[in-house]
């Protein structure tokens, strides 16, 4: 089974609010000091799903694609260390500041260039822009079915059984391959790469494709050609007016809280 996994490198989504800063003029996030970028947390889960499906099928190739700056190589290496076979970095000055829609176009081109695939796996959303649109986009462009927000996938002879997470429960669907599936956190923890694998992955070559290699025109790249122009980016203000409930013991604090809540007619 040949599987393509798309992984994105993003600023650490667990960056505390106090360290999170934005350059409003450039409409960009300022990298927080001492906090390294990470792989979008849903994407190693997609890689994990790919590795398990490949094993269950008894063979195949798992190819990892990432579009991003040169540092996105680390996201690819992480997937290779987990056990993926090939890595491709989509890198071009024209990719700077592009939106999720232009990204979907570029990824679709790259996937066509890879050529052979039974399945494309992605994360349910990238935790930078929190959009969750690229899986649907690549599916529309390639003309293949898309199943979103999956917690489990099984393959039997070219038909996938996918369990989806819904607002009010779960839904099981069946889809023929080739297809795209986006993975949610309910899938479970991905494997942690071992030191030996990290060292082996470091030696693997990652192919680099430019916008021209993908056959993208100048009007398909660049921040000026965003489908969803960004007009402003800022950090919302939050005020702190907290009243810390006093008391000599936890029990007394609880008692005082109950009385405050009653006095404020909240209970």
């Amino acid at each position: 089974m040949n599987i393509i996994v798309c992984v994105k490198q993003i600023p650490d989504p667990e960056t505390p609010a106090a360290s999170f800063k934005v350059d409003e003029a450039a409409k960009k996030v300022i990298p927080a000091q001492g906090i390294a970028p990470v792989v979008n947390p849903f994407d190693p889960q997609a890689t994990e799903a790919a590795l398990r499906l490949k094993d269950a099928a008894g063979g195949g190739t798992v190819t990892v694609i990432s579009l991003g700056p040169d540092s996105a190589r680390d996201a690819i290496k992480h997937a290779l260390a987990m056990g993926a076979d090939e890595g491709v970095l989509l890198s071009d000055p024209g990719f700077d500041g592009i939106d999720n829609f232009q990204t979907a176009v570029a990824l679709a081109k790259a996937i066509e260039k890879v050529g052979e695939y039974d399945l494309i796996l992605m994360g349910r959303q990238a935790a930078d822009w929190d959009m969750g649109v690229v899986p649907a986009g690549v599916g529309q462009i390639l003309g293949i079915p898309v199943v979103t927000v999956a917690k489990a996938i099984e393959n039997s002879n070219g038909t996938l059984k996918v369990e989806r997470v819904l607002d009010d429960g779960f839904q099981t669907v069946e889809v023929p391959t080739p297809a795209i599936v986006s993975i949610s956190n309910e899938f479970g923890e991905p494997r942690y790469p071992q030191l030996r694998q990290i060292m082996l992955a470091a030696k693997k070559t990652v192919q680099v494709w430019s916008a021209a290699d993908l056959g993208l025109d100048g009007d398909q790249t660049g921040a000026a050609n965003r489908w969803l122009p960004l007009e402003a980016l800022y950090v919302p203000k939050v005020e702190s007016n907290v009243e810390i409930i006093e008391g000599d013991s936890p029990e007394e604090k609880a008692k005082n809280l109950a009385q405050k809540l009653r006095a404020a007619k909240l209970i």
């Binding site: 829609f101 607002d167 009010d168 007009e231 950090v235 939050v238 936890p250």
Partner: protein
Amino acid sequence: MPGILVVAEATEGEIAPISFELIGAAKQLSAEGGGNVSAVIAGDEALAQQLVAGGADQAFAATNPSLQSGLAEAYLPALNAAIQQSGADIVLLGQTSLGRDVGPALAFANQTAVAMDTVELKLEGGRLHATRNAYGGNARAQVSWKAPLQVATVKAKSFDAPEGVSGSGGVTAIAEGGDPTVKVLGKEKAETTGIRLEDAGIVVSGGRGLGDPSAFGLLEQLAATMKQAAVGASRAACDLGWYPPAQQVGLTGKTVSPNLYIAVAISGASQHMAGMAGSKNIVAINKDADANMVKVSKFAVVDDYKKVIPALIEEIKKLG
């Protein structure tokens, strides 16, 4: 003629509250010059009629049974027909399971963008501008669209449902539907006891700091001492299997805005806040005085929940 199309949804034959919030948003845009408000729903004409009664100028009943799957592939033909017939240049969906699946597919199928999880919408010079959370809620982004059709999903509780303003138009049936390649094999509904999280006046939520799943029993006891209270959880607690994912509050879970939100052993990560920051009054119970949840709360008890919660239950019972 521009116009706004609302993609409404129902659960078990009952129109979901988000649908009326979307009509509320659409009516605001209409007042700013956005044109007529149309609404479409998967179901029969009687169901669609309720959208007109709820303020839409006209409604479409998408009657094709394939739409019951709630999947984009089945919805697209019906929605494209509704866009065509209504002449809408703005489409609003809820940031729900349906909207997350359908919104992006609809946008790409029409060679346009979708802004996901918007919290503010405004019309300027006849074009839509939307504000949405990004970076887990640490940032706000204002966006617009390059292509003529503007698609957005709207976060729950961001707009009020219109009150006492029934539309005057009729209901049109739309028969279009796909023969989807994605087939639904089954659905499992999450068990819910008592009041729905989104409708609760009080929400008591537990996090990873509870340290143990049985503590949710304690939170349920606390909720039982109060009227209209439901129990929620952080994603960390859900991921640990301590509470069902359907009760998760936050960016990738439910949006709640109760009168009172009691966060027990939850740190207040931006992605959790994204689902409850609209709460009118927040109470934090956390042993760490520096936790973000403590900072954003109205009242905070800085101590071990294991001692605080049982005493709180006692005292509330005593107050009667």
